[in-house]
Symmetry: C2
Subunit: 233 residues, 2 copies
DNA sequence: CCAAAAGTGTTAGACATACACCCATGT
DNA sequence: ACATGGGTGTATGTCTAACACTTTTGG
């Protein structure tokens, strides 16, 4: 009973990669040019290497696809239904990544046949990847309400209206500009860079950057950017 | 690259089981009477069966040890360090369970050489089980602040002071009786059973039970039982 | 009758919301 | 000049924290 059995189950990693283009939350998905399920859409994934840990594996896969290191990655959940992969019993550890969409290596993405797809128009995904994505979206909503992870989706220097648009995209609700701004500045996490952005068609907005030290200290403090009306959902 | 490799990694399950005895939060741990690490303390675990999913596996292991079904179980995180098990590369999916300590099957627990150990006096655990427990405690604190999972650790009928002692044990802080009681009753989740408890040495407290229907509906609403002073930590 | 624990009430302050208003910029 | 979007101010109501007081029970 307590002996070690022969390994018979594969261990895989799948990555859910969120980005924000200033308007919509997008997912980095691949159109598979390999078997199984060739031609269909799926998350980026791979099998766990014998000589790597789970987070190393996730970093490797994310690096291969995006060319990025040091991005925000969290382990989300492990999926292990007996029938989830019809070819071979596989347990998949799902990771959740947030990246700044401008920074990614477009060549690497192209070579993997991947594209940024907005959440609403995403195609049907293979296996249980659809369920993984649903869980990740829930997690994003849940976590962004309490922790300042929203910053991970924006460039280093960003404006408050940008951040607001991000939160509006996550929760799909309008947020009051003035209250949002005040709530945000009161955290003391934003540093005024003194610069203004120039892409806006009207008044230039102040560019802030994150106070990384305080950000790490305060990460576990419970924020609440959701209006109370959403708390019921 | 995209071929299926030979399985070479084992998939295991470990369970962190919390209980509450009215005073302290306790963990159900086993003193191993089998190899490896015979004689040392560890979490209850086992290998994933070829024909079961992850949550089925966790339920099986929990049932074997406690004789209980339908208990509160959540998948916590998967541990996959290359060196975590010295005998054989093993990835372990850790589950988090809350049980009513009075309900468990004492025979089954004894036969597995298991005991309820309070968090403070727990022995050193094997492998990375120590880290798993630390994560689970964090998760308990985090989750209990927002969701009413505290109820899962109490008997079906319980008093508000009991629940308060539970929260005080989780966060290791004193809580104001009056504010706690009002906050709790205002949720509408408690049903007055009309009964009073009799074990108290002084005034008898009202026994409540959970409104299960509302409980399920409201589960995802964000509660906050932690006083604001704790929000910084 | 007293001690100890349960239950109820009250008040001041903090916070969030919902607004109105002013400022800067490109056309 | 004016439309568009960014930034600041303020009042109102709700919620919380910090209190005092009463009630019930066992010894």
């Amino acid at each position: 009973m307590h002996n070690y059995p022969e390994p018979s189950i594969l261990v895989a990693i799948d990555c859910i990669i969120f980005g924000f283009d200033g308007k919509d939350i997008k997912l980095l998905l691949i159109k598979r040019n390999f078997e199984p399920e060739k031609g269909k859409w799926s998350l980026m994934g791979g099998f766990l290497d014998k000589e790597e840990g789970l987070s190393e594996g996730a970093s490797r896969i994310l690096y291969n696809l995006t060319g990025l290191k040091d991005i925000y990655v969290e382990q989300l959940e492990t999926f292990g239904c007996v029938v989830r992969d019809p070819v071979q019993r596989t347990v998949s550890v799902v990771f959740f990544a947030l990246i700044q969409i401008e920074d990614h290596d477009t060549e690497a993405v192209k070579s993997h046949n991947a594209s940024w797809i907005s959440l609403e128009c995403r195609p049907r995904l293979i296996f249980d990847h659809e369920e993984m994505v649903r869980l990740a979206i829930e997690h994003l909503k849940y976590k962004a309400a309490l922790h300042p992870i929203g910053f991970e989706l924006l460039p280093e220097r960003f404006t408050i209206p940008q951040l607001q648009k991000l939160y509006e995209a996550i929760y799909n609700i309008p947020i009051d500009r003035r209250n949002f701004s005040r709530k945000l500045l009161s955290t003391g996490l934003l540093i005024d860079t003194g610069q203004k952005n120039n892409n806006g068609a009207t008044k230039k907005a102040t560019l802030y950057r994150l106070d990384s030290i305080r950000y790490k200290e305060k990460f576990h403090s419970f924020w609440n950017f959701m209006p109370d009306s959403m708390k019921q959902a």
